[in-house]
């Protein structure tokens, strides 16, 4: 009987049920989506070695990043040597997607890998036809490339081709990889003589430590994962924070929808209690309803999240590759445990937010047939005390603890404190507005809002927070973008930059470029990842290029010390991460053993989160005997243009495809990378905003229903349905305006917190403090007002359409 009662009620209110479902689904979707993304950014980032050899695989590398095959051949025949897996890796693109060629020897100690149809790796890799090398590719990668088994993939730029001869599943670490036989990969990439790394099983660690010698480095799987985790810590923290906000907003929706449903059924509950229904049975009925709604909503959320996370992963794939130099998987990799865990947690959370609603229901005395009741509002004194407590404890946490988690946690506490006060401030504003327009319809509409303060407070706070977040984040992103633009402009002192496609420039090639007519001076850059994971960048700079480094703090001797090879520079993120300062000593692994050099200066840099050490080219060559460079900067004589010199460079026949770019081009590309990096943040901010609007709709519906008697009275007093419609629309627009007004100062707070606290702690770089950019306000305010007003349309329509007489009846 009770089930039928619930059903009948839900049938009469499909919109509310839908809202509750959407609220739960949206919250679950964002949390699950972000959990899946976090997995993709930690577990499967650079998991090639784990997939090829095993979770605990060991990796042997040379400090230069390349290992010559003779070293491999010598090692492999030593007594007791492990069954090394030689691997050759190189970044490529196909169909615009970033991929990596992973050349392996299928006859080495590689784990058994088979295609979806049971084809063995060696069979697949040696199955050549038409002279096109074979590749084994994961199913999700093929989906990404819109290809299938037996298709031929063309690698961009070079036009080289590979044929897909087997498809593997369930190995996310091999996503975005073209697994090839190492001989074919070496030939295709023109890398004869070299491999990238050797993989070995974990039990060979003792042998490796005893036999590798000083020249080679051993990276353990845990070290590798830790560095991947550290690499993406900032991005993951950002995602997590957003997902928690989304969840909180989603729960607001659930709460307001449920309390709305509650309001509607006060009369029924009163009747049921009068008919002898006990508290226990009523509680069971309510919990049962919530569980059913939550179960379906959460299920829909899981489906939505999986689709959402795959889309978000595509959004961040390019920035992850550009910024971190790592390829994320092509698709997220959900597990049954994750799904089950989140589903159950969603049920628990839904029941938890129902508790206040349920308490309200259980307090209904038997026979009470009146719908309306007052949600108690905290007195202003208590609100202020709570706000002060939360804000001061948040601020104290940030001040006393230098970790990223403290900055995020502290910001949360401060925001929570402000949010508690927002309804009070917001309804103060409403009162003020209502007084100024006392005699008009809007004035009356706003006064009515005041009476529903308890019901509307959570929705107002949620909306205000979502708007503040969108605006504050927008401000931070734009401010950051401007800082990056200035930094790139300052950094690039040459008139044009030349490199060879997917290979480095030999000394002889650099000399030929430098001796071209019209070139006054040149600079060069060589970037290497050292065995301990540190990135080393070697610069050959003319004196005038020195101003490209924006030094943080005073270091008058820096240029002399750096050029003489007596000291190195470190980028700000590295200095922050490792607590380094001018005068400190850094230790760098070189082929001749660890080199210890002092730090001459710390410079501003936004190019990498983990940071890097800058050394003079001479010092680098002395250490590593590597005379190649990655790119050359050319300073042109008067009258020479980059375009003209570019034509001459193309005529040089450098032995590779020469590419040149001007500083303006680099600036454009850098900002494009920047914009891609923050696409996820925008997408998530948008989601939070949408969830907040759903919250607003449901709150207005609840309020409208509670006030149905007033509305009916207004109708009876001559207010036309059109005017009533206008009244409710004014209410929603007014609420949105108030939310915006309270959101703006909060947005500025969020902007500064993100720029001055979160950024340095998450990514290691500081942003110049300045006035927040105004553009986000100009974008968000009109959009929010329009959407907020539209949100009121449905409740307005519902309220306007209700028969007057029914609501006028006493007691209803």
């Amino acid at each position: 009987m009770l089930a039928r009662l619930s059903r009948a009620f839900f049938y009469r209110h499909p919109a509310q049920v839908l809202l509750a479902l959407i609220g739960i689904a949206a919250g679950v979707a964002v949390v699950t989506g972000v959990a899946l993304l976090r997995g993709a950014l930690v577990e499967s980032l650079d998991a090639v070695s784990a997939e090829l050899v095993g979770e605990q695989a060991l990796v042997v590398r040379h400090p230069s990043g390349r290992l010559d095959v003779d070293t491999y051949a010598r090692l492999v025949r030593q007594p007791g040597a492990p069954d090394f897996v030689p691997v050759l890796r190189a970044a490529v693109r196909s169909d615009g997607q970033r991929l990596e060629v992973v050349g392996v020897d299928p006859f080495s100690g590689i784990r058994t890998l088979t295609g979806a149809d049971g084809t063995g790796l060696s069979t697949a890799l040696f199955n050549e036809s038409g002279g096109i090398p074979s590749a084994v590719v994961s199913a999700s990668t093929l989906e990404l490339l819109d290809s299938g088994l037996d298709s031929v993939l063309t690698l961009d730029e070079s036009g080289r081709q590979v044929r897909v001869t087997a498809v593997i599943r369930g190995r996310p670490g091999l996503d975005r990889r073209l697994l090839m036989d190492i001989s074919r990969a070496q030939a295709m990439l023109d890398e004869r003589g070299w491999v990238s790394e050797l993989l070995a099983p974990p039990e060979s660690e003792a042998w490796l430590r005893a036999n590798l010698g000083d020249e080679l480095l051993l990276v353990t799987a845990s070290g590798q994962r830790a560095s991947a985790r550290q690499l993406t810590a900032g991005m993951r923290a950002n995602l997590t924070a957003m997902s928690l906000l989304a969840l909180a907003t989603g729960l607001f929706v659930v709460y307001s929808v449920l309390s709305f449903l509650m309001v509607q059924r006060r009369r029924t509950f009163g009747l049921l209690r009068a008919l002898g229904m006990t508290h226990g049975r009523l509680a069971r009925l309510l919990i049962g309803e919530v569980l059913v709604i939550a179960a379906f909503g959460a299920l829909a959320g899981l489906v939505a999240s999986t689709v959402l996370s795959d889309q978000l992963l595509r959004l961040i794939a390019a920035p992850v590759a550009e910024v971190y130099g790592q390829l994320p998987p092509a698709a997220t990799n959900p597990t049954p445990w994750l799904y089950a865990g989140i589903w159950l947690a969603a049920l628990a959370a839904a029941v938890a937010v129902t508790v206040p609603v349920m308490r309200e229901a259980l307090q209904i005395p038997p026979g009470r047939l009146v719908r309306s009741f007052v949600v108690h509002v905290l007195p202003a004194r208590k609100v202020l005390a709570l706000t002060v407590l939360l804000v001061t404890s948040g601020a104290a946490w940030v001040a006393l603890d230098a970790r990223l988690v403290a900055a995020l946690g502290g910001l949360f506490l401060v925001l929570a404190g402000v949010i508690v006060a927002i309804p009070m401030i917001g309804f103060g504003l409403v009162r003020g507005l209502a007084r100024r327009t006392a005699t008009t319809l809007p004035g009356r509409a706003l006064r009515l809002l005041e009476t529903a303060r308890g019901r509307l407070s959570p929705a107002l706070a949620a909306l205000s927070l979502a708007l503040a977040l969108a605006i504050g984040m927008g401000m931070m992103i734009l401010g950051f973008r401007a800082a990056v633009g200035d930094w790139v402009t300052r950094l690039l002192q040459a008139d044009m930059y030349v490199s060879l496609e997917s290979r480095s420039l030999a000394r002889e090639q650099v000399d030929r470029l430098a001796s071209l007519e019209g070139v006054e001076a040149f600079s060069s850059v060589r970037r290497t990842r050292l065995a301990d994971g540190t990135t080393l960048t070697a610069y050959d700079l003319p004196a005038r290029a020195w101003s490209g480094f924006e030094l943080l703090g005073e270091a008058p001797e820096a240029y002399r010390q750096f050029s003489a090879g007596d000291a190195v520079l470190v980028s700000e993120p590295l200095a922050r991460r490792q607590g380094l300062a001018i005068g400190d000593i850094v230790e760098l692994p070189t082929p001749e053993g660890p080199a210890r050099v002092p730090i001459a200066a710390v410079f501003r840099d936004y190019s990498s989160e983990q940071g890097f050490v800058a050394v003079s080219g001479d010092l680098y060559r002395r250490w590593f005997d590597d005379h190649a460079v990655d790119s050359v900067g050319l300073y042109l004589a008067d009258g020479m243009t980059p375009a003209e010199l570019g034509r001459r460079i193309e005529g040089l026949a450098l032995g590779g495809v020469a590419q040149w770019i001007t500083p303006a081009g680099i600036r454009r590309e850098s900002l494009a990378v920047f914009d891609r990096t923050f696409r996820v943040s925008w997408a998530l901010a948008m989601l939070v905003g949408l969830i907040a609007l759903v919250a607003l709709t449901s709150a207005l519906l609840a309020q409208g229903l509670e006030r149905s008697r007033e509305h009916a009275t207004l109708r009876a007093l001559g207010l036309s349905p059109a005017r009533l419609f206008g009244l409710v629309t004014v209410q929603s627009a007014g609420l949105t305006a108030v939310a915006l007004a309270t959101a703006l100062p909060l947005a500025v707070l969020i902007h500064y917190a993100l720029s001055l606290l979160i950024q340095p702690r998450a990514f290691g770089w500081s942003l110049p403090a300045g006035l927040p950019p105004a553009e986000p306000v100009l974008w968000v305010v009109p959009v929010a007002l329009v959407l907020g007003t539209l949100t009121g349309l449905y409740p307005a329509w519902r309220i306007g359409r209700r028969p007057m007489i029914e609501h006028l009846r006493a007691g209803r």
Binding site: G120, P172, R192
Partner: protein, 380 residues
């Protein structure tokens, strides 16, 4: 009401079904490869063994490029001072890749090498085995007149004969092997026909008795051992020909000083092919080639492995012309390779059926039984 429940359940089933298909499945297990199939056919570009040719040593101990396959095969029985018995097998296989253009790479390879190393601990009935692969590049594996190796598993030529060194998880072997009899040229002066077609043949020679002396380490416990070993060398292309499903191969060293090699090539119908053959080597090294009708086999015992494959591990063998009749029984049953190629290769005893006396020892190889069965060990 019931209709609502049905609809709700349907929606839930669809959603859960979608989520389940999204949880990616791991790849399936690979199927094993057929050892027999590797020897049945070869592209025309490979050289064939088509008739007797003189063999020259030590030059012919080295590999013979141009043929599809070749192997170096040691087996033997060893005893430590306390009389504890060990069997061992050490094999290098070379499988040539089809001739053709090779990529410009250090890893370009004309062949793939496979090595099998096993130690049978008879007292504990434990079979330790390890498989290795390497490509024929960068000196990872190879065979010259003086050394045969795959990474650090090596057989080097010494003044006396060879020194064999290999180790795996839980077991290692270091043996000096000294021939006690001259080289036996199988078939017609080393030309061993195995099928009706031209090219269904291999070059085949053996050293049927070598004194073995060295060290076995099992689970960290070292033991000085002595015993007797056997070397088989064979190469060719498409030697088996059509219709052969596998073989049963015996290498037996009798206590009276004679050695006996017998193999039965099994047709798909289960009969012995007419190209089944053998050799009886006298104590003084003189030998006589045996043809199919010179010997008879009868299966007298089977062992079922954990995958459900039955292996005929015990036999009754009769050579009426030589007045020989005996049983061959395994030192223990579980000497089966669960590797890329699934086969049974283990230490056996030669037993007098009348009084149960041990007449000798040796090795038995059973091939082609697992190829069509539920072997689930991967090809890499």
């Amino acid at each position: 009401m019931r209709r609502d429940i049905v609809i709700a359940v349907l929606i839930a089933v669809v959603a859960v079904g979608w989520l389940v298909q999204r949880i990616e499945q791991r790849e399936p297990d690979a199927t094993g490869i057929s050892g027999t199939a590797l020897l049945n056919a070869a592209p025309d570009a490979f050289k064939r063994v088509t008739g007797p040719e003189p063999l020259v040593f030590p030059a012919d101990h080295a590999m013979h490029p141009g043929f599809r396959n070749e192997w170096w095969y040691f087996t033997g029985n060893l005893f430590d001072a306390t009389g504890r018995r060990y069997g061992f097998q050490f094999t290098l296989f070379r499988f040539a890749v089809e001739p053709g253009e090779r990529p410009d790479s250090d890893f370009a390879s004309d062949a793939i090498w496979m090595a099998h190393f096993a130690v049978s601990d008879v007292a504990r009935a434990r079979f330790n085995s390890a498989e290795r692969f390497a490509r024929d590049a960068l000196g990872l594996a190879g065979a010259t007149a003086d050394e045969w190796w795959l990474r650090d598993w090596t057989v080097t030529r010494t003044e006396e004969g060879w020194r064999l060194r290999a180790q795996m998880d839980g077991a290692s072997l270091d043996l000096d092997l000294a021939p006690r009899k001259p080289v036996v040229l199988q078939g017609d002066s080393g030309y061993s026909r195995k099928g009706p077609e031209r090219g269904n043949a291999s070059r085949y020679y053996s050293i049927t008795r070598m004194a073995a002396d060295g060290r076995v380490v099992l689970d960290g416990n070292a033991a000085e051992v002595t015993g007797s070993a056997w070397l088989d060398r064979e190469w060719g292309s498409s030697q088996l020909g059509e219709g052969i499903a596998g073989w049963d191969w015996f290498a037996l060293q009798l206590d009276d000083g004679r050695d006996l090699m017998l193999y039965r090539l099994r047709t798909e119908a289960g009969d012995a092919s007419r190209f089944s053959a053998g050799v009886l080597v006298e104590a003084d090294g003189g030998y006589r080639v045996l043809e199919r009708d010179d010997f008879e086999f009868e299966e007298i015992g089977r062992w079922r492995d954990r995958l459900g494959v039955d292996w005929p591990v015990a036999w009754r063998v009769r050579l009426p012309g030589e007045g020989l009749a005996f049983e061959v029984r395994p030192a223990f049953d579980a000497q089966r390779w669960y590797a890329t190629v699934g086969y049974w290769e283990g230490a056996v005893d030669v037993i007098d059926p009348d009084d149960g006396r041990t007449l000798g020892r040796g090795y038995l190889e059973l091939s082609g039984y697992a190829d069509s069965d539920a072997q689930r060990v991967g090809v890499r």
